[in-house]
């Protein structure tokens, strides 16, 4: 399904407002290298490609069929896919259990099962893999920035959340391995997807948005195994379930469905995001594949107030501020201008340039009391420019301690931010986002070692 050599698009259309047009056009525009078969009984040629009346007419093995036809005729075309020995299907069409038609949904599941065809959907965006350039999404490419190739796989029940987060992943600058929007999870569900992603070597990190799971106990069991191999960040929508109506006991009154999900995520060692922003922030820190050593943080800044705010964020996240060794302090005193107060946060003051950052970072990196580095680079100051962002990227690879950057601002800052992100240096635009992300990283490392 993710690396198909041949794709049939059932419901492909020459009419640009149709979903079937957008899907086919995306394959063409993105330079998909496999064989494409548009299927539509009313056309001979679509977007310059020969069209077929049904998959049964195609004399080739079809690895993936994308179905984008009205719900009522999905059973018919699915049956044809089965007979044509199509190896996997994505049903993009809506109009099934989500509008109350469980019977129609059961019917298509029965057909898919009869032919042992894995089926994603219905009512979904489907799958995207930037490596194989497969993309079943019906969203015009010019409206959606697509992420670069990378190690984060994004599993998403909702199509709307899926497309917005994809757009934001592209903006944040970290790379995508697989995107899977699985809609109603009629056949392929979270458990199947976890099994797949656990074994997928291209996937280093999993981020997911879910509203509920289909097989709770299996989800819990595979979730525990999965997070021992790869970090998982989860955001769950729909936290209320009518509260604790008619609870018999204190326990039942306290621990409703939402709390149960929360408990399962914790027990599985997942990082729990409270909103879309956190989902992206945590995804980014795990994507950086930083190995945390401990919770003692050094902050280097060119703005005093932001240093203070970041110190607060560090404490709020349950991390500690490192106490610099006396050797570090005396060397810093010699190397830094007299305006720099030697303390943590280390305020290099407003005229700091890339050289001053370099001197300070190299010293702190050698201090045994420092385990992680937060570098605040405010590009509004005169000394901070392109050279600073380049220097930081360079230092990231020469320093063997986890290092992240906080840069806050618009225009020019955004440019510098994207430059650093694209070179593998995680950048955050708020102290809390940076500190909480480091805390999650550390929590996961402890979970893997079964340390409390």
């Amino acid at each position: 399904m993710m690396k198909p050599q041949s794709v049939a698009i059932i419901g492909a259309s020459s009419n640009p407002v149709k979903v079937g047009y957008v899907i086919l056009n995306n394959y063409i525009e993105e330079g998909y290298q496999g064989r494409l078969y548009p299927i539509n009984p009313n056309d001979d040629k679509i977007l310059g490609l020969k069209a077929y009346k049904s998959v049964l007419e195609v004399r080739d093995r079809i690895d993936l069929a994308v179905i984008a036809v009205p719900a009522a005729i999905v059973p018919k075309v699915l049956e044809e896919c089965g007979r044509a020995k199509v190896r996997s299907v994505v049903v993009v069409s809506g109009g099934f259990a989500e509008i109350g038609d469980q019977k129609l949904e059961d019917k298509i599941v029965a057909i898919a099962n009869k032919y042992k065809m894995p089926m994603i959907g219905p009512n979904c965006l489907g799958v995207m893999d930037p490596r194989s350039r497969i993309d079943t999404l019906f969203l015009p490419t010019f409206k959606l920035s697509k992420p670069k190739i990378g190690g984060v796989s994004f599993v998403c029940q909702s199509g709307a959340v899926g497309s917005t987060v994809l757009d934001l992943i592209a903006k944040e600058g970290f790379g995508l391995s697989k995107f899977i929007s699985y809609g109603n999870a009629a056949q392929v569900d979270e458990v199947d997807l976890f099994e797949y992603l656990m074994e997928d070597d291209e996937t280093k990190v999993i981020i997911m948005y879910i509203e509920g799971v289909k097989r709770g106990r299996e989800f819990f069991e595979i979730g525990k195994r999965l997070s021992m191999k790869k970090p998982v960040v989860v955001l769950k929508g729909g936290v209320t379930e009518g509260g604790a109506v008619a609870a018999h006991s204190h326990t039942a009154a306290l621990a409703g469905s939402h709390e149960a999900y929360d408990a399962v995520f914790r027990q599985c060692g997942f990082a729990i995001a409270r909103d879309l922003t956190e989902l992206l922030h945590y995804g980014k820190i795990f994507a950086s594949e930083i190995e945390p050593k401990g919770d003692r943080i050094a902050i280097i800044t060119n703005g005093g107030g932001t240093g203070v705010l970041t110190t607060d964020a560090v404490f709020n996240a349950g991390l500690k501020m490192a106490e610099f060794s006396s050797q570090t302090k005396s060397t810093l005193k010699k190397k830094m201008p007299s305006t720099v107060n030697i303390a943590n946060p280390l305020d290099l003051v407003g005229d700091a340039d890339d050289r001053r950052y370099e001197d300070a970072l190299n010293l702190l990196a050698q201090d045994k009391n420092v385990e992680m580095l937060i570098v605040i680079a405010l590009f509004q100051t005169p000394g901070a420019d392109e050279k600073l962002s380049e220097r930081l990227v360079h230092l990231k690879s020469s320093i063997d301690k986890p290092m992240i950057v906080i840069s806050i601002g618009a225009g020019y800052t955004e440019e510098r931010k994207i430059f650093m992100e694209n070179n593998g240096l995680p950048v955050y635009d708020s102290p809390a986002a940076a500190a909480n992300s480091l805390a999650e990283l550390l929590k996961y490392a402890k979970y893997k070692k079964k340390m409390v």
């Binding site: 709770g216 006991s249 204190h250 326990t251 027990q267 079964k450």
Partner: protein
């Protein structure tokens, strides 16, 4: 779901090595005085119709003198009248400590779960609790304790923390193996050197 009778519930706990306070049903004030043997006792009216004993005034604590016990017994009988049928349970008073809750319930999606929280009258106010899917591991037990905001209140030392871990592991086994629908051990009184379950509610 069926409420398990109190003394049967206490025996079930005991079979998993979970200690509850010495309790038995008493038929009269004199019976209660005999049970007390000169030590402080509590009297509780037990009825499946009264879910919150404290709210309904069905609990009398710290009774020592004969007259005190007799007055309390009579008052309980009067209050319990509207919850018929009921029985009156006498319990030895537990030495003071911190009140926690250990509970269990069956979740539709994930199956049986175990809860640990700051207990007694604070349960609903602070909602400071940790939840896990049963059966739990020792790591889970440690994490549950660490997750509580009231951790430093609930555990006195490394020793009492170990004791609580052990108790959680036993409760998890009880919930899973005995296939309980709901369990409330509230309160459990924790001291530096031991603990006792003071009230039990089990639904099967």
């Amino acid at each position: 779901m069926q409420l398990v009778e109190y003394t049967a519930a206490a025996r079930l706990l005991n079979s998993y090595g979970i200690k509850s306070v010495d309790s038995r049903y008493v038929r009269s004030a004199d019976d209660a005085i005999r049970f007390s043997g000169g030590k402080k006792i509590a009297l509780k009216a037990i009825s499946s119709k009264a879910l919150h004993k404290t709210k309904a005034g069905l609990i009398k604590l710290n009774l020592l003198e004969g007259e005190e016990i007799s007055t309390a017994f009579a008052d309980l009988e009067r209050r319990a009248r509207k919850f018929k049928p009921y029985k009156i349970l006498a319990q030895k008073m537990s030495a003071p400590g911190i009140e926690i809750i250990i509970g269990g319930r069956e979740d539709r999606q994930f199956g049986r779960m175990l809860l640990l929280g700051l207990g007694g009258i604070y349960v609903e106010t602070f909602k400071d609790f940790a939840l896990r899917v049963c059966p739990i591991t020792r790591f889970d037990a440690k994490e549950m304790i660490a997750q509580l905001k009231s951790r430093s209140v609930v555990t006195y030392s490394g020793k009492s923390e170990k004791m609580l871990e052990e108790l959680l592991l036993r409760a998890s086994r009880l919930i899973s193996e005995s296939k309980l629908s709901e369990l409330d051990l509230n309160p459990v009184i924790i001291r530096e050197d031991g603990y006792e379950v003071v009230d039990i509610r089990i639904l099967r």
